[in-house]
């Protein structure tokens, strides 16, 4: 019947609305459900696999493991890494290729992790930093090997 359908319509509609209001009302009176993270005060600890930026491992004697093989440079899809090599003279008088400057363009990097996978000597890794904002983008071009650092002994 028309009137019955009409009232049923109104009833069903209103109950569906009230159910929704009960849910939002529940959240309104339960502030402990709030999921806001207040960022600068509360900093989340990022998991160790988080890909923030590429850094080079150095030990306490300022030695790194990069042989300058350019595997990472070849693996990089965006030309983010540029490796400049030099020739060291080994004690027995031979010339040996070694890393001079490891240039890393953070502004081009997409954190795809391919360079880390490609590295045969495990010289680079991903750091868990994420606050990369700077005022001048040239600051994002970084040299990863620390000044005066040398190749670790035994790494070929």
């Amino acid at each position: 019947m028309f009137i019955v359908d009409y009232i049923k319509d109104v009833y069903n509609g209103v109950t569906s609305l009230l159910k929704g209001m009960r849910l939002t009302g529940y959240y309104f009176v339960h502030p402990k459900e709030i999921i806001t993270q207040e960022y600068p005060e509360v900093k989340q600890v990022l998991p160790e696999r988080f890909k923030g930026e590429v850094v080079m491992r150095h030990n306490e004697n300022n030695e790194h493991r990069c042989t300058g093989c350019t595997a990472c440079e070849l693996a990089c899809p965006n030309a983010t890494i540029k490796i400049v090599t030099k020739f060291d003279i080994t004690p027995d008088g031979k010339k040996k290729k070694a890393l001079d400057v490891f240039v890393y363009h953070l502004e081009l990097c997409t954190m795809c992790n391919l360079c880390i996978v490609a590295c045969p000597t495990d010289a680079i890794k991903m750091a868990q930093t994420f606050e990369h904002s700077v005022y001048d983008r040239t600051e994002l071009t970084k040299v990863l090997n620390k000044p005066g650092s040398k190749l670790m002994d035994g790494v070929e």
Binding site: N12, G13, S16, L17, K19, G20, R22, L23, T24, I35, L46, P47, R49, F50, K51, A75, C76, P77, T110, M111, C112, N113, L114, V117, M126
Partner: protein, 371 residues
């Protein structure tokens, strides 16, 4: 002939919706012809974030090009990557170890849930309910945290490599996913109360943006759009990949073909994906997560096509190889591009508000359309 600004000769109003507009979810530009509130014509103008990924991939090696595809449909980036890895594996006949396959499927389904959750929230925004957005993000955040722990990134993970996955799962992965399953199961009924069951939403979506099964096929729609008309189209069922043939799940169908049917297909797909995750999470086989591959991959001369089911529909990768280090020609068949083609057909004759609601249920991701 349509003028860019002003009215047509019949006195209809022409409005530019986008490239910056709250309901186009990105830089989609629609030129709509209006007669009062009624939409007479919708014409998409594309290319605002066209990056020519296809050309870009022609100069990238078979390992490198996978990461670019994350930037297409960024909401189901893992599934895009999976499709690309599959085509390389098909060309090189690499057999992915079981563990690798299961991890891929798990991640793909989590991605699908995350994508559908974001769609649900944005759908609410499109029809004027703001609260669902945050409620959906709460659960999506849990998925993102899981992704972050295992893959190292939250959205564009680049976790897939030809031959498997890049790294093994994190030791906490199974525990976290089990927690997430519990969380989502407790919250999924709230979605019903908050939006699905709401009389206003049902009135807004039922009978709006109707497309028949024949038209949907003819327009090349895929995914939930065509499943809402009752057409079998799930690639996971038609041409199973990565071990989808071994898991039990139902392809979700509706018959009405309207916006509400599309809405319900997506809502039910969340449950189906959840059941896939549930089946697999405690049964990840032991073994290698990645097959042994050569350092430099070279596809043999020939043509390879692989298709996967992303959250939006059928994603295809078509590679023509000349035997070199890089693809000779690569083409991505993106689901959003074809779905967008049907928009005019769906909305002509309805109100502006219906157009927004229909666009919401199409779940357009603009980088996916523009590529």
């Amino acid at each position: 002939m349509i003028e860019e600004v002003g009215t047509t000769t019949e006195g209809d109003l022409i409005i530019n919706v986008g490239p910056q507009h709250p309901s186009t979810h990105g830089v989609l530009h629609l030129v709509i012809t209006l007669n009062g509130e009624t939409v007479k014509k919708v014409e998409p103008h594309l290319g605002y974030i066209h990056r020519s990924i296809e050309k870009m991939c022609e100069s990238l090696s078979y390992r490198q090009f996978i990461y670019v595809t994350s930037r297409m449909d960024y909401l189901s980036s893992h599934i895009n990557n999976q499709g690309c890895a599959l085509v390389v594996e098909k060309g090189l006949q690499i057999e992915v170890p079981e563990r690798g396959k299961v991890i891929r499927v798990l991640m793909a389904e989590l991605t699908r849930i995350a994508s559908h959750l974001l769609w649900w929230g944005a759908m609410g925004m499109d029809i004027g309910a703001f609260t669902p957005f945050f409620h959906a993000f709460r659960e999506r955040e849990a998925i993102n945290d899981i992704m972050e722990e295992t893959c190292g990134a939250r959205l564009t993970m680049n976790y897939v490599v030809p031959g498997g996955v890049m790294a093994d799962i994190h030791p906490n992965f199974q525990k976290k996913v089990n927690e997430f399953i519990k969380l989502l199961k407790s919250k999924i009924d709230e979605y019903y109360i908050l939006l699905t069951g709401n009389i206003i939403l049902q009135e807004r979506l039922k009978g709006v943006g109707v497309i028949s099964a024949e038209d949907a096929i003819n327009f090349g729609c895929s995914g939930p759009v065509v499943r809402a008309c009752g057409v079998k189209s799930d690639i996971r069922k038609i041409a199973p990949y990565d071990g989808y043939e071994k898991v039990k799940f139902d392809e979700v169908f509706e018959t009405a073909g309207d916006s509400f049917a599309r809405y319900m297909v997506r809502m039910n797909e969340i449950r189906q994906s959840l059941s896939i995750v549930e089946q697999l999470i405690d049964n990840i086989p032991e073994g290698e997560f990645q097959a042994k591959t050569k350092a430099v991959l070279k596809l043999p001369k020939g043509e390879f096509y692989s298709r996967v089911e992303t959250a939006r529909g059928e994603f295809g990768v078509y590679i023509i190889s000349e035997g070199g280090l890089t693809p000779y020609r690569i083409k991505f068949r993106s689901p959003g591009f074809s779905n967008l083609a049907a928009l005019h057909h769906m909305v002509k004759g309805s109100k502006i508000a219906d157009m927004v609601a229909t666009m919401g249920t199409l779940d357009l991701v603009i980088p996916d359309i523009d590529r």
